[in-house]
């Protein structure tokens, strides 16, 4: 039995930007949507590696419930772009078996909210397979789909799974905030020998940004410093990063300048970049679209206290959602989520 741990070395990227710096200028460059960036990442990898297939509900005929896989059935055919029965635990488990026999499945959950019915496979099998086989059976599956609230989908369809799933060792968790990162991170995820949970947001799929036509891979565990400032460190990941940038703009008008760190991946977590920034600013606000109790924000704050306690000039603050099920009402949902106003208020509080 050949192990599934061998994977081709990543091709030399045509360009390797400094991933710690803000995005390259958009001017004169190609602008595409978030969903197109995801599609490009999958298609480019699938052209190179015949072991990769995409399976999920509505991914083939219908071109994806959110049109992410548009045109992929035509290009790759029904053996590699597969419409599955409505059976999340089923295709999650099937992916485990396929990966054990050397394939590289990409599994699309229509929403990460629905991954909960596949919990046994994705939490109890996927992350432990390598460990329980003494290093023999890896599980290189990419699970991806929409995560988070913001579209008036109600309590059961608005899950932010990162808080819950990040507790489990053995998986990598990726959560991009923009199309450029989404493409580079998804390509890395597909090439990665470990299982990866890739969290997208329905609210961002139409977002546009500069994405160079050349191939690139963004390494995991490397935060991006999107804004630089000496007053406070704002840490976030996924969609709320965009709210942090808005808050930062408002704060700059008041003369408050922040470091804004986009973590890009939660596991591995680039704690070193956070600590370096906190040692400079002495203040930190963590913005997280999950519930506050035992959230990723809680973990970041804990590690900051463990590693940079003496550098803190104010207690760390968190901006999470309220600790209640996600409301369906538009007005209530907007208030429930982290937003630029709450973030700016938290930063001001650390400086008061």
């Amino acid at each position: 039995m050949t192990t599934t741990l061998e994977h081709p070395a990543l091709p030399e990227p045509a360009i390797l930007p400094d991933f710690t710096k803000p995005l390259p200028s958009r001017e004169g460059d190609r602008i595409i949507q978030f969903r197109e960036a995801l599609r490009e990442a999958m298609s480019e990898e699938m052209r190179k590696d015949s072991r990769i297939f995409l399976m999920g509900e509505e991914v083939a005929q219908y071109n994806g419930a959110y049109k992410i896989s548009q045109g992929m059935l035509d290009e790759f055919g029904p053996l590699r772009i597969i419409d599955s029965p409505i059976s999340e635990n089923g295709f999650a488990g099937l992916a485990v078996g396929a990966a054990m026999y050397g394939l590289r499945p990409i599994i699309e959950f229509m929403s990460w909210s629905f991954s909960l019915v596949a919990a046994d496979q994705i939490l109890n099998n996927v992350p432990k397979m390598l460990y329980m086989s003494g290093g023999q059976w890896g599980c290189p599956v990419v699970f991806r789909g929409n995560d988070g609230a913001g579209g008036q989908l109600g309590s059961t369809h608005s899950w932010c799974v990162e808080g819950l799933y990040a507790n489990v060792p053995g998986v990598k968790i990726v959560i991009p905030s923009n199309p450029y990162d989404a493409k580079g991170l998804l390509k890395t995820a597909i090439a990665d020998p470990d299982p990866v949970f890739f969290l997208e947001s329905e609210r961002m799929l139409g977002d546009k940004a500069h994405v160079p036509p050349e191939e690139y891979y963004i390494p995991f565990g490397q935060a991006a410093l999107l804004r630089e400032g000496k007053d406070c460190t704002i840490v976030s990941f996924g969609r709320p990063v965009n709210f942090c940038l808005e808050a930062d703009e408002a704060l700059r008008a008041e003369g408050i300048e922040c470091d804004v760190l986009d973590m890009r991946t939660i596991r591995p977590l680039d704690i070193d970049s956070i600590i370096a920034s906190v040692k400079k600013t002495g203040r930190i606000v963590v913005v997280d679209q999950c519930w506050p109790f035992a959230s990723v924000a809680s973990e970041v704050v804990t590690q900051v206290i463990e590693r940079a306690f003496d550098w803190l000039d104010h207690q760390p603050l968190r901006v999470n959602t309220e600790d209640v099920p996600t409301p369906y009402s538009k007005i209530l949902e907007a208030e429930y989520l982290p937003n630029p106003r709450k973030i700016a208020a938290a930063v001001r509080k650390t400086l008061a």
């Binding site: 039995m1 741990l5 029965p85 086989s133 565990g221």
Partner: protein, 374 residues
């Protein structure tokens, strides 16, 4: 518009060798030769001995827990022998040890597994099986995925997955069956209906007359066989496996058998099972009928039985020795297999055998220690 039947089906039952060792000559024609039966019977003696010794190891504190296979050997061996060694894939739960051994798993690996040594799950090169699956039902989906990979790679292999009667109540079972049939993958679903799921009897587990009929919902070829009849199990398995190999898709087999021992060593079945029921099944033991068959053919005798048992004792003693004398793992080994490449944070924990909560830099706090053994 008159009403009409849009679907009807039935389930066949197959027995070739009865409890007295009498064989239906016509049905037995293309099954196992007497040499094969003899060889497999001797192998059964070894497996039964291992089962007994594993039980004793647990009772004397040398093993965590152990689920005995006693009484179900014909089901495991008949099906395992029908699968091609080194070609087909076994995707087991935990009560078909003999099938795994037939495919080359060294016996002491099973002991290592139940002693809590993950090296028992490091399947040797050339042995086509996945590690034992303890969460009930999850492995059936893995088998479907492995079979899907065979199909995509156009390899003429078959996956055969094992599970109990209780496991067919799990969603995983139905999701795996549905996927296997919609994707038409080369997968054989082999149910060992041993009448019990811990203390829950089969008729409380399901209200279906047979387990086999569940496959009808997925339009899968299905059969119920006497699971204590080596020949019937072998024939049904061979048919299903070769059909799958030829592109005929998945099949289902219900092997009707009985768990002669407790569920595991943590259980005492006397508290919930009628001894009359157990006694009746002891008479149906797969080994008894094989022995009667062989004796009638003058291929077996009391002396041969004694010799075989003696041989098995010596053999199994060596197996136990192999499991108990393996070099102890390092405690720090626990960090090695969570990711393909050990992340920096885990590397730090491995170095210090402490969690990161012990301070800003555990190495400076004097907490670094050489990993010790246990």
């Amino acid at each position: 518009m008159p009403s009409r039947t849009v679907y009807s089906a039935s389930v066949e039952y197959l027995q070739i060798m009865d409890e007295e060792g009498h064989v239906d000559a016509k049905l037995a024609k293309d099954t196992l030769s007497d040499e094969e039966i003899l060889k497999l019977y001797q192998f059964m003696v070894d497996c039964r001995q291992l089962d007994e010794i594993a039980f004793k190891l647990q009772r004397s504190g040398r093993m965590g827990t152990y689920p005995q296979n006693k009484g179900q050997e014909a089901a495991a061996i008949g099906s395992g022998y029908a699968a091609k060694k080194g070609v087909d894939f076994l995707v087991p739960c935990y009560r078909e040890n003999a099938a795994l051994f037939l495919h080359g798993l060294p016996m002491h690996y099973i002991l290592l597994h139940w002693m809590g040594d993950e090296r028992g799950n490091q399947i040797p090169e050339g042995v086509n099986m996945t590690p034992l699956s303890i969460p009930i039902g999850t492995q059936m989906l893995h088998a479907t995925g492995i079979a899907w990979a065979f199909k995509l790679k156009k390899e003429p292999r078959v996956a055969i997955t094992y599970f109990g009667d209780g496991a067919t109540s799990e969603g995983d079972f139905h999701e795996a069956m549905n996927f296997a049939s919609t994707l038409q993958v080369p997968c054989v679903f082999f149910c060992q209906n041993n009448q019990w799921a811990i203390s829950v009897p089969r008729d409380q587990q399901m209200n279906s007359a047979t387990v086999a009929q569940k496959a009808l919902a997925y339009d899968m070829p299905t059969i119920q066989v006497d699971g204590n009849d080596l020949l019937a199990v072998h024939k049904a398995s061979k048919d299903a496996i070769e059909r799958a190999r030829q592109g005929g898709g998945p099949s289902f087999i219900e092997a009707v058998t009985y768990r002669l021992a407790d569920h595991t060593t943590a259980d005492d079945a006397r508290r919930y099972r009628d001894t009359k029921e157990v006694d009746a099944w002891i008479g149906k033991d797969p080994m008894i009928r094989l022995r009667k068959y062989l004796e009638r053919k003058n291929l077996w005798s009391d002396e041969k039985q004694k010799a075989a048992e003696e041989k098995a004792k010596v053999f199994v003693a060596d197996v136990v020795k192999a499991a108990e004398t393996i070099e102890k793992p390092l405690i720090s080994d626990i960090f090695d297999y969570t990711y393909a490449e050990i992340p920096e944070e885990l590397e730090r924990q491995k170095r210090t055998m402490r969690t990161s909560s012990l301070g800003q830099d555990p190495t400076q706090a004097g907490l670094a220690a050489e990993p010790s053994t246990y």
